[in-house]
C-alpha cells in the first residue's frame, strides 16, 4: 500500500513538504500520533481552565475572576476535557494499536481517517474562539441545560453548537472506520473471540459512538432552532419542555461516559496480564461484561435527573438499572484481581498506572453505586460529591488508563525506552495530587456545597484549599509526563527490543521497535 504522502512531488521546500506530509497523511500511525498530540494539547488547555477555577475556589470570596468568567471556565473545562482530551486520546490510541493488534496493514478507510482527524482542530478553534467574543464564552455548564443555554445563552453559543456538530461528525467517521477495520482486516485465524480485549472494548465503544453522537447532534440542533428559528422544543411558553433537553442530552450523556471508560478497561486488560505474566482471567466474561455495560448504559440516563420531578415509577426503574451496572463492572474488577492472583508480577510504570486505574476507578464506582440510590441522590445531586465521583471515574479511569497505554506502547512507537525512574515519580506524584484534589470533594459535597458555584460558605474553606493545592500538584505532573515522552522520543534510556516486555503477548510485539511506518504487508497467521 502506498501512502498518499509519498506521492507529493519532491521539489517542494522541505518545511512545506513536512507540513503537507502531516496534513495529507493517510497512515494510521501518523494519524494516531496527530490525535495524541491534539489530545494532549487540549488536556493542557482544559487543565489550565481547571487551574483558573481552582485558584478562585481556594478561598471564599471573589479574588481573581468574576462569576461569569468562572462559569465560562467550568463550561469549557468540561467540553474540552470530554471532547478534546479523552475522546481523541482513545481514538488516537485505536488508530495506532487496532491495526497492529489485529495484523492489519492500516485502517480500512485511510482518507476518511485523515478527514476525521482534521475536522477536530477546526472544531476546537470554533469552540475556544468563543472566549474572545462579545458576551464571552458559553457559561451554562458542559451539560448545556435549556433554557439557560437557549434563551439566555450568550451569542457565542452558536459556535459551540457548530463545534459540537463537527466533533460529532469526526467521532462518527472515526467509529465507522474502527468498526470496518475490525470486521474486515483481521489477520487470518483471528476470530472475534481471539481478539485482544482492547480491540473488543473499542469495537463496542465505536458502536456506542455511532448510536449516541447523532442524539447529541439532534439536541444541539434543537437548541439552535430554539435560539434562532422560532421553535419551542425546550420552552414551555411555546408548548415545549426544558426537561426534554435533559432527557435527550443524558440519553447521549450516559453512554458517553462509557465511551470514555471502555477503552480504558481494554488497556488495563492488556497491561495487567503482561506484567502478571499470566493470561487474562475470564476473557469471555470480560467481553460479555463490556457488552452488558454498553447495553445497560442506554437505560440509566434518568439517574442524572432524579430531582426534575420524575414520577415514582421512573425513579425506581432508573435506580434499579443503575444499580445493576455494578454487577458487570464488579465482574471486571474481580477478573483483573484474579488475573494478578498467583502471577509473577513486576511493577513497571504501565503496570503502576493500570493498578492505580483499577483501585481508584473502583472508588469512583463505589460512589457511583451510592449515587444510584435515588433517595440519597436527593442529597448528593449537584453537590461536590458528584464532582468527586465523576473525577474518580474519569481521571483514574480515562486519563490513568491512557497514560498506562502511553508508557506501555511508547517503546513500540518510538523504539526507545522511557526513563523508568521518572515514570515512577510521575505515577506517585499523580496519585498524590489526584487524591488530594478529589478526595476532599466527597466531604465538601456531603457537607452541602453545591457544584458550579464561584463562592461558598465558610465551613467549606479548608477542604477547598486542600483541593486547590492538590489540583496545582496534579497540574504540574502533566509537564513531567510531557518531559518523559519527549525524552523517550529523543532517545530515552536506550533502544527497545521488539518484544519490549517479557510477558507481553500479541501481534504488535512481533514487529520491530519502532514499528515500521508500514506494517503487516502480508497478514500474519494466528492459530
Amino acid at each position: 500500500m502506498i501512502a498518499h504522502a509519498d506521492t507529493i512531488p519532491p521539489a517542494r521546500h522541505p518545511l512545506i513538504a513536512w507540513i503537507l506530509r502531516w496534513i495529507l497523511t493517510t497512515n494510521h500511525k501518523e494519524i494516531g500520533t496527530l490525535y495524541l498530540c491534539l489530545s494532549f494539547a487540549m488536556f493542557i488547555v482544559g487543565g489550565a481552565m481547571a487551574m483558573v477555577f481552582r485558584l478562585e475556589l481556594a478561598q471564599p470570596g471573589l479574588q481573581y475572576v468574576g462569576a461569569d468568567f468562572y462559569n465560562q471556565m467550568v463550561t469549557l473545562h468540561g467540553l474540552v476535557m470530554v471532547f478534546g482530551a479523552v475522546m481523541p486520546a482513545f481514538v488516537g490510541l485505536a488508530n495506532w494499536m487496532v491495526p497492529l493488534m489485529i495484523g492489519a496493514p492500516d485502517m480500512a478507510l485511510p482518507r476518511l481517517n485523515n478527514f476525521s482527524f482534521w475536522i477536530l482542530p477546526f472544531a476546537f478553534f470554533m469552540l475556544l474562539s468563543s472566549l474572545f467574543m462579545q458576551g464571552g464564552a458559553p457559561n451554562f455548564g458542559w451539560t448545556l441545560y435549556a433554557p439557560l443555554s437557549t434563551t439566555y445563552g450568550p451569542p457565542s453559543t452558536d459556535y459551540l453548537i457548530f463545534g459540537v456538530h463537527l466533533m460529532g461528525i469526526s467521532s462518527i467517521l472515526g467509529a465507522i472506520n474502527i468498526i470496518v477495520t475490525i470486521f474486515n482486516l483481521r489477520a487470518p485465524g483471528m476470530t472475534l473471540m481471539k481478539m485482544p480485549l482492547f480491540v473488543w472494548t473499542w469495537l463496542i465503544t465505536a458502536f456506542l459512538l455511532i448510536m449516541v453522537m447523532p442524539v447529541l447532534a439532534g439536541a444541539v440542533t434543537m437548541m439552535l432552532t430554539d435560539r434562532h428559528f422560532g421553535t419551542s422544543f425546550f420552552s414551555a411558553a411555546g408548548g415545549g419542555d426544558p426537561v426534554m433537553f435533559q432527557h435527550v442530552f443524558w440519553f447521549f450523556g450516559h453512554p458517553e461516559v462509557y465511551i470514555m471508560i471502555l477503552p480504558g478497561f481494554g488497556v488495563a486488560s492488556q497491561i495487567i496480564p503482561t506484567f502478571a505474566r499470566k493470561k487474562l482471567f475470564g476473557y469471555h466474561s470480560m467481553v460479555y461484561a463490556t457488552a452488558s455495560i454498553a447495553i445497560l448504559s442506554f437505560v440509566v440516563w434518568g439517574h442524572h435527573m432524579f430531582t426534575t420531578g420524575m414520577p415514582l415509577v421512573a425513579e425506581l426503574f432508573f435506580m434499579y438499572m443503575t444499580m445493576l451496572i455494578a454487577v458487570p463492572t464488579g465482574v471486571k474488577v474481580f477478573n483483573w484481581v484474579a488475573t494478578m492472583w498467583r502471577g509473577s508480577m513486576t511493577y513497571e510504570t504501565p503496570m503502576l498506572f493500570a493498578l492505580g486505574f483499577v483501585v481508584m476507578f473502583t472508588i469512583g464506582g463505589f460512589s457511583g453505586l451510592m449515587l444510584a440510590i435515588a433517595p440519597a441522590d436527593f442529597q448528593y445531586h449537584d453537590t461536590f460529591f458528584v464532582v468527586a465521583h465523576l473525577h474518580y471515574v474519569l481521571y483514574p479511569g480515562a486519563i490513568f488508563a491512557m497514560m498506562a497505554a502511553v508508557y506501555y506502547w511508547l517503546p513500540k512507537w518510538t523504539g526507545n525506552m522511557y526513563n523508568e525512574r521518572l515514570g515512577k515519580i510521575h505515577f506517585w506524584s499523580a496519585v498524590f495530587g489526584l487524591n488530594l484534589t478529589f478526595f476532599p470533594m466527597h466531604f465538601t459535597g456531603l457537607g452541602g456545597m453545591p457544584r458550579r458555584i464561584v463562592d461558598y460558605a465558610l465551613p467549606y474553606a479548608d477542604l477547598n484549599m486542600v483541593s486547590s493545592v492538590g489540583a496545582g500538584i496534579l497540574g504540574l505532573t502533566q509537564f513531567l509526563f510531557l518531559y518523559i515522552v519527549v525524552d523517550a522520543i529523543r532517545g530515552g534510556t536506550g533502544k527497545a527490543t521488539g518484544q519490549v516486555w517479557d510477558g507481553a503477548e500479541g501481534l504488535e510485539w512481533t514487529l520491530p521497535s519502532p514499528a515500521p511506518l508500514h506494517s503487516f504487508h502480508k497478514p500474519p497467521q494466528v492459530d
Binding site: 470570596g61 462569576a67 499470566k278
Partner: protein, 393 residues
C-alpha cells in the same frame, strides 16, 4: 523531588500559604477519617442527619451503602494488595497457569446481585414515602428567578421575595465575612413545625433547584412546570440551603433560609404579614399622593440600586459587557423617561433583566429610576414620582 517544588510554586496556595499547617492537618485527618467512620460523624463531614424523618432515613441509606462499599472495598483491595505483595516476581517467580472458571464467574455475579437487592429494598420504601405529597396542611409556592426566591402562601394569599443579604463588601473581601456568609437572606421562608408543608416549585426564567439539606428536600424549579415536594419538621429553628442548579452568573448567591416556628407563632406571623401588606398599601397611597424631592429620592434609590441592580450593572454603573449593559451614559438612563420606566417595570423578555413591577413598590421604582438618571455622571436632572410609576403599571 517534583512534588516539593510543585508545592512551593503552586499559585493556588499563594494567598493562604500561611494557613498551610492548618489544612495539612485537616487533610491528614481526612485520611484518618476513612479508617474511623465514627469520627466522620463527629467532625460534621458526614451527610447531614437533618431534622426530618426523611432526612434521617436518607442518612441511614447513605450509611448502609457507604459501609457496604467499605466492606467490599476492604475485601477486594485486601486481595489485591495481598497479591501485589505476595505474588511479585522476586518471591513468586513462576506464574500459575489458570485463566478461566465458570464457577467463580457465576459466584461473583450472583453475590453482588444479592447485595444490590438488599440495598434496593429500603431505598424503594423511602423513595415511595418521599413521593407521597398527599394531605399537606400548608402549601407554599416557590418560584425561582435570577437570583432570588419568591415565596407565596397559597391559602393565606400572601407572598414575598427572598434575596441574599450578604453585603457585597464581604464577597469582595473588603469586610470580615459573617458567620452565615452567603447563607443569609432578607426575608426567610417561615413554616410551622409539626405540620406537613407542601412545596410547589416553579421558575420565572431558567431552571433553579430549591434545596434545604436538613430537610432532604431538593426539587428543581422548572419554568412552565410545577413540581411537588414536602416536609414535616418537628424542631423549630433556622435552616439554610442554596440553589443547586446552575442558573447563571449569580448562581452562588441564591441562598434558601427557612425559619421553622411553632404552629401558633406561624398563625400570628401570617396575620402580621397580612397587616404589613395592608400598611404597605396605605404607605403606597400616601407615597403617590405627594411630590418627592431629589434629596429624598436619591438615597432611597441608591439603596434599592445596590440591593437589586448592582450585582449585574455594578455599583458604579459600569456594567459587564453586552450581557449586563452599563448604566453610566446608557441610552436608556439618559433617554426618554417613559422608556426607562417601561424597562424597569416590565424588564426585557428572554434576558436576565427581569420585570420589577411585582417586586418593588412605586416609591422604590421611582427612586431607583431617579437615581439611575442622576448618578454615574448621567446628570439628567429629572425626577420620577411614585404617582407616575403607579399610572405606568
Amino acid at each position: 523531588m517534583m512534588p516539593f517544588r510543585a508545592f512551593a510554586c503552586i499559585p493556588a496556595g499563594i494567598g493562604a500559604l500561611t494557613r498551610l499547617p492548618v489544612f495539612l492537618s485537616r487533610s491528614l485527618s481526612v485520611g484518618l477519617l476513612l479508617v474511623l467512620p465514627q469520627s466522620i460523624l463527629a467532625q460534621g463531614w458526614d451527610m447531614r442527619e437533618g431534622v426530618t424523618d426523611i432526612s434521617q432515613r436518607i442518612q441511614t441509606l447513605h450509611h448502609i451503602s457507604l459501609f457496604i462499599c467499605l466492606a467490599v472495598g476492604i475485601v477486594v483491595f485486601g486481595a489485591m494488595f495481598y497479591t501485589i505483595i505476595a505474588h511479585r516476581r522476586s518471591v513468586h517467580p513462576e506464574p500459575a497457569n489458570f485463566h478461566e472458571s465458570t464457577k467463580v464467574e457465576v459466584i461473583w455475579t450472583l453475590i453482588p446481585t444479592l447485595i444490590l437487592i438488599g440495598m434496593a429494598v429500603p431505598a424503594t420504601i423511602t423513595l415511595r414515602d418521599i413521593e407521597d405529597n398527599s394531605d399537606a396542611d400548608v402549601t407554599v409556592l416557590i418560584t425561582g428567578s435570577q437570583w432570588k426566591w419568591h415565596y407565596q402562601y397559597v391559602d393565606a394569599g400572601i407572598g414575598f421575595y427572598s434575596n441574599m443579604s450578604t453585603p457585597t463588601e464581604q464577597i469582595n473581601n473588603e469586610q470580615e465575612k459573617g458567620e452565615h456568609y452567603l447563607l443569609e437572606v432578607d426575608n426567610p421562608l417561615v413554616i410551622p413545625s409539626g405540620l406537613k408543608v407542601r412545596f410547589l416549585t416553579s421558575s420565572d426564567d431558567v431552571i433553579h433547584s430549591w434545596w434545604v439539606p436538613d430537610f432532604a428536600v431538593k426539587q428543581d424549579a422548572i419554568p412552565g412546570f410545577i413540581n411537588e415536594a414536602w416536609t414535616l419538621v418537628d424542631v423549630p429553628g433556622i435552616y439554610r440551603g442554596q440553589c443547586t442548579e446552575l442558573c447563571g452568573m449569580n448562581h452562588a448567591y441564591m441562598p434558601v433560609v427557612v425559619e421553622v416556628v411553632p404552629a401558633e407563632e406561624f398563625n400570628t406571623w401570617i396575620e402580621d404579614q397580612r397587616v404589613a401588606m395592608e400598611l404597605a398599601g396605605e404607605a403606597a397611597v400616601a407615597a403617590r399622593s405627594r411630590d418627592w424631592s431629589m434629596e429624598e429620592l436619591m438615597p432611597i434609590g441608591e439603596a434599592v440600586y445596590l440591593q437589586h441592580c448592582a450585582t449585574c450593572h455594578q455599583p458604579d454603573g459600569s456594567g459587564q459587557g453586552i450581557t449586563y449593559p452599563a448604566q453610566a451614559g446608557s441610552l436608556i438612563a439618559t433617554g426618554p423617561v417613559d422608556v426607562h420606566i417601561d424597562r424597569v417595570l416590565n424588564g426585557v423578555v428572554d434576558t436576565e433583566m427581569q420585570a420589577w413591577a411585582p417586586q418593588l413598590s412605586d416609591l422604590d421604582i421611582a427612586a431607583v429610576i431617579t437615581y439611575e438618571r442622576n448618578a454615574f455622571g448621567n446628570d439628567m436632572g429629572d425626577l420620577v414620582q411614585p404617582l407616575t410609576i403607579y399610572n405606568s403599571r
